[in-house]
Symmetry: C2
Subunit: 261 residues, 2 copies
C-alpha cells in the first residue's frame, strides 16, 4: 500500500489516542497492553529518545520532537487523531507521572471543543521510582511522596516549602528530574532543606538509568549526598526516618518497614 | 516427573526469591518480566486472591495464605528458597507499595544470617494509584503522595498528622486501604481532616477494582465525599488545589496540570 493509500485508509476509520508508558528502559517492563496498542498504531508521537524505543514498521509514522515542546506535541497528536489516525503518545515510565498525560489534557482543554469527543486512553507504565525502589529493595514500602524538582513549571519557593512539609510528615521522598544543566543547584538546595529536619544518616538512593545497561545505584547518608551525584537520568529517593539498610554480600538492601513510628 | 523427583531437582539447584507485582487485575498489565519469572518458579506464595491469579501447572506448588500473616508468609518463602526452591511471592499492584516486599525484608532482617546470601529480586508492577489515575485522566500529573490508611501498623494520630501536612503541601493524595470492616470510619476521619484545609469542591476520585470486570469510577467534590463510597478494593485519589475536571461525552477527565500555583 502506498503512503497516500495508507493515509486514506486511516482517515476513513475513527481515530484514537493512547498515551502510553514505556517503563524505565527494559523492554521486559513494557506492559502487554502497551505493546498491543503500539501494534495497532498508525502514528507514534513523543520526545526523541522515547520514540527511538519504538521499533519502526511499515504503516507506522514516527514523529519525534525535542524536549520542552510538550503542548505543541500534544496538540499535534490530537490533530492527527481528529483526522482519523491511531496515535500513541509515548512517555518513559508512567505517562501520568510528570509526563505527557497531563500535557495532553492541558492541550485538549485549550483546544477545539470537538477534541473532547475523541477516544482517549491512558496506558499506565512502570514509573522510575517504582523501578528504582525495586532494584534497591523497598524504600517506598511505607507512606511516600513524589516531587518534580524541575522549576520550569513552578516557582522554586513552592518546591522548597513542599520538601520541608514532606520531611515534617516523614514521607520517603522520590525526586524526579533532580538536576539539569540549566538547574545545577536545585538538588543541593533540596538536600540543604532536608538537612534542617532530618538526621545526617538518612539514606539517600541515587538510581541512574535503572534497568538499562547504564544502570548505576548508589546509597549515601544525607550528610554526604551531593547534587553532582545525579543527572537527568537519575531518580533520587530519600528514605523516611524509619528506612533501614540491611548489609549483605553485594549491594545492601534499602527498605522502609510497614510499621510507622 | 513425580512430585518427589521434582522436589529433589529443585533442591539440587540454587534457589531464589522474586517478589512480583501482578498489577491491578487485568492480565494485559502484568509485565513480561513477571510472566517469565512465574514460568520458571517452583513455588508461588501469597495472599489467597493474588495466588488465585496465577495459572496452575505441573511442577508449580501454590501456597495461598490468609491476610495479616505477611511476616509468616515471608519467612515461609525465605525457607523455601534457602532449601533450593525458585519462589515467587506475589502481590497485587507493585510489591514495593504497601505490599509484600517490605514484609519480606523485615523477615529477612529478623531471620538467620544465611538468608542474606539468597538471590532476591523485586519485580515492579503497576500499582493501584497509577492504574486508577490512568483510567480517570491524570490526577497525579503533578506532585503527589501515597498514604496507607490502614492503622493496623501505625497509630492513627500519625496518619492524621501526615494527611494534614500533605494537604498543606498541596499534594494530590492517593489513599490505599481506605476502609475495612474493622475500620469503618478511617476514611471519613481523613476527609474531615482534609475539609479543614481544602475547598469544598476539591475533586475526590473513588476508583474501585480498576481494570477488572467490577471496575467502578466515581468523582465527587470533597464536601460530598463519604467513607461508604469506598471498600477494600478501592483506591481514593484526592486532587490538589490545581486538579481540574474536564467535562466531555461520557466520563469527565480528571487531571492535574504540570504547572504549580
Amino acid at each position: 500500500m502506498s503512503g497516500a493509500a495508507m493515509s486514506a485508509a486511516a482517515m476513513s476509520a475513527p481515530g484514537w489516542i493512547a498515551v502510553a508508558g514505556l517503563g524505565p528502559g527494559d523492554a521486559a517492563l513494557i506492559t502487554p497492553e502497551v505493546s498491543a496498542t503500539l501494534a495497532q498504531a498508525t502514528d507514534v508521537v513523543g520526545y526523541i529518545p522515547y520514540v527511538a524505543r519504538v521499533a519502526p514498521r511499515p504503516g507506522l509514522t514516527l514523529h519525534a520532537s525535542d524536549n520542552r515542546v510538550e503542548l505543541e506535541r500534544a496538540a499535534h497528536a490530537l490533530r492527527l487523531a481528529a483526522a482519523g489516525a491511531r496515535v500513541v503518545v509515548v512517555s518513559s515510565g508512567d505517562p501520568g507521572v510528570f509526563a505527557m498525560a497531563a500535557a495532553l489534557f492541558e492541550a485538549l482543554e485549550a483546544g477545539p471543543h470537538a477534541w473532547r469527543t475523541l477516544d482517549i486512553r491512558v496506558l499506565p507504565g512502570i514509573t522510575a521510582m517504582l523501578a528504582a525502589s525495586a532494584r534497591a529493595g523497598a524504600p517506598l514500602g511505607h507512606d511516600f511522596c513524589a516531587i518534580n524538582l524541575s522549576d520550569n513549571l513552578k516557582p522554586w519557593p513552592v518546591v522548597e516549602r513542599r520538601i520541608a512539609l514532606a520531611a515534617e510528615a516523614d514521607f520517603a521522598i522520590a525526586f524526579y528530574n533532580p538536576r539539569s544543566r540549566a538547574r545545577p543547584d536545585s538538588l543541593d538546595t533540596a538536600f540543604a532543606t532536608l538537612r534542617r529536619v532530618c538526621r545526617d544518616d538518612r539514606p539517600v538512593l541515587f538510581a541512574r538509568a535503572v534497568t538499562t545497561s547504564d544502570e548505576d545505584l548508589r546509597i549515601v547518608g544525607l550528610s554526604a549526598a551531593r547534587g553532582e551525584m545525579a543527572d537527568m537520568r537519575t531518580v533520587v529517593i530519600v528514605g523516611s526516618s524509619r528506612t533501614r539498610i540491611v548489609e549483605r554480600p553485594g549491594r545492601p538492601l534499602l527498605y522502609t518497614p510497614r510499621h510507622a513510628s
